[in-house]
């Protein structure tokens, strides 16, 4: 069955900084709806007062990877889109995929080996029988 890989989202922002305006709007308007639509993601909202680090959206996945996305100077809709994107991702590292295909069954009839189409020693080749 499908298990959402996103465990929790932490929204760290400051209540007074200017670049956290989008984050504050998101918390006021869309955060509750997002939490209701995704009941398997725990959403933590932690405002830290005073001048501090930039507003960040931290996503923790089931395999332990923690991904931080800056949300400074972003609108509320963009943050919502970002949150849904993180919710639909898995926690695997974002690196270049070497090949876009993978198969668990590389051979259907059995992989070729040098003896595949050679007749066995036991087949007896006798003289051709005359049709009767």
């Amino acid at each position: 069955r499908y298990v959402r890989q996103l465990q929790r989202l932490q929204l760290l922002f400051s209540p007074t900084a200017a670049d956290a305006r989008g984050a504050r709007q998101f918390v006021e308007e869309a955060a509750q709806d997002f939490a209701r639509q995704h009941p398997d993601v725990v959403l933590y909202v932690s405002p830290h007062s005073g001048p501090g680090p930039a507003p960040v959206l931290r996503a923790e996945y089931l395999n332990g990877t923690v991904r931080e996305e800056l949300i400074a100077s972003r609108t509320s809709e963009e943050i919502l889109q970002l949150a849904t994107k993180l919710a639909n991702q898995s926690g695997l590292d974002i690196i270049r995929i070497r090949k876009p295909f993978h198969t668990d069954n590389p051979s259907v009839q059995g992989q070729w080996h040098p003896l595949t189409n050679k007749p066995s020693i036991l087949t007896v080749q006798g003289p051709r029988l005359q049709p009767q």
């Binding site: 929790r8 009941p39 668990d104």
Partner: protein, 299 residues
């Protein structure tokens, strides 16, 4: 003159080094942690309705209770305050283990009727073994929720917690849904695994002879089918097993004995129906009648 004020260049590297050298901490001790919300999210993530108090009991391990009582005694509290009001997860874990083993044995007997009891037991033991269950538990983030004395939680604790979760599900939702849960999370671990990787068979030839006598087929006659590189360091012999001059199975090997054993194993795989090209496991929703039958037979 005084050094210029402002952040130094080495400060960032130094803080990063400090961060990497800290000992690993439980997630519950880091900021932003709400146990009740996490447990609710856990239930929703697995798409199951849990009774939350049963689930909370399922995550409590006996080592945690002992460590908590020891800590309270050290802090000098009264005897009444020392005794915690928490229940263990041992009962739930035993229930979960029993149910999982019965259900898996039922599944395998239904899917591979020719497999003998020892084979079914070997498969069930593999699926409820410590490494596999702790691997599944880690990827479902049970190690964050489980209350345990040491961190990171050892695999037997994770296995116990996962089985206790199964027991809690059994109590809250009933045997059908728990059966579907066990099927969805434990049986995919068999994908890509061969029967004889899981089940150690010492004498495949003897086992094959027993199976053939059960089906009233004469004893197999081994013959060399193909051979390559006989006089080299790496010869390859293909030995075929013939019953009444009809081929049963063929297996490769480095020496004649190894090839014969491999041919016996291939023959056993064919007889038990556990070949690589068998039908994949059926994960569809069980129908109403089958579900009731399974519930009755498990009771």
């Amino acid at each position: 003159s005084a050094p210029a004020p402002g952040k130094k260049r080495w400060l960032r590297a130094y803080l990063e080094m400090q961060r990497l050298q800290e000992p690993p901490q439980r997630r519950s001790e880091k900021p932003n942690w709400d146990y009740h919300a996490e447990i609710q999210a856990f239930g929703h993530r697995l798409q199951e309705n849990f009774a939350l108090d049963l689930l909370k009991i399922a995550f409590v391990n006996p080592c945690y209770i002992e460590s908590e009582e020891a800590r309270r005694r050290q802090l000098g509290l009264d005897k009444d305050a020392v005794a915690l009001q928490l229940q263990d997860n041992t009962g739930l874990a035993e229930q979960g283990l029993r149910f999982a083993r019965d259900y898996l044995a039922q599944c395998f007997e239904g899917a591979y009727p020719a497999l003998p009891a020892k084979g079914v037991e070997a498969l069930v033991n593999f699926l409820t073994s410590q490494e596999l269950v702790s691997y599944v538990a880690q990827n479902l983030a049970i190690q964050d929720l489980a209350l345990c004395r040491d961190f990171p939680a050892p695999p037997d604790v994770l296995q116990k917690t996962f089985l206790a979760v199964i027991g809690a599900l059994l109590e809250s939702s009933g045997p059908e849904r728990t059966g579907i849960f066990v099927r969805d999370f434990l049986i995919p671990q068999l994908i890509g695994k061969d029967l004889f990787e899981i089940w150690e068979v010492v004498n495949p030839m003897g086992l094959l002879l027993e199976e053939l006598t059960k089906r009233n087929i004469s004893a197999p006659e081994p013959r060399i089918t193909r051979q390559l590189g006989v006089s080299t360091v790496l010869p390859v012999y293909f030995v075929g097993l013939y019953c009444d001059k009809k081929i049963l199975a063929e297996g490769p090997g480095e020496t004649l004995l190894a090839a014969e054993e491999e041919a016996a194993r291939v023959a056993l795989r064919k007889l038990y129906g556990y070949t690589e090209n068998r039908r994949p496991w059926d994960y569809s929703k069980p129908k109403q009648g089958l579900a009731a039958e399974k519930a009755i037979s498990s009771n």
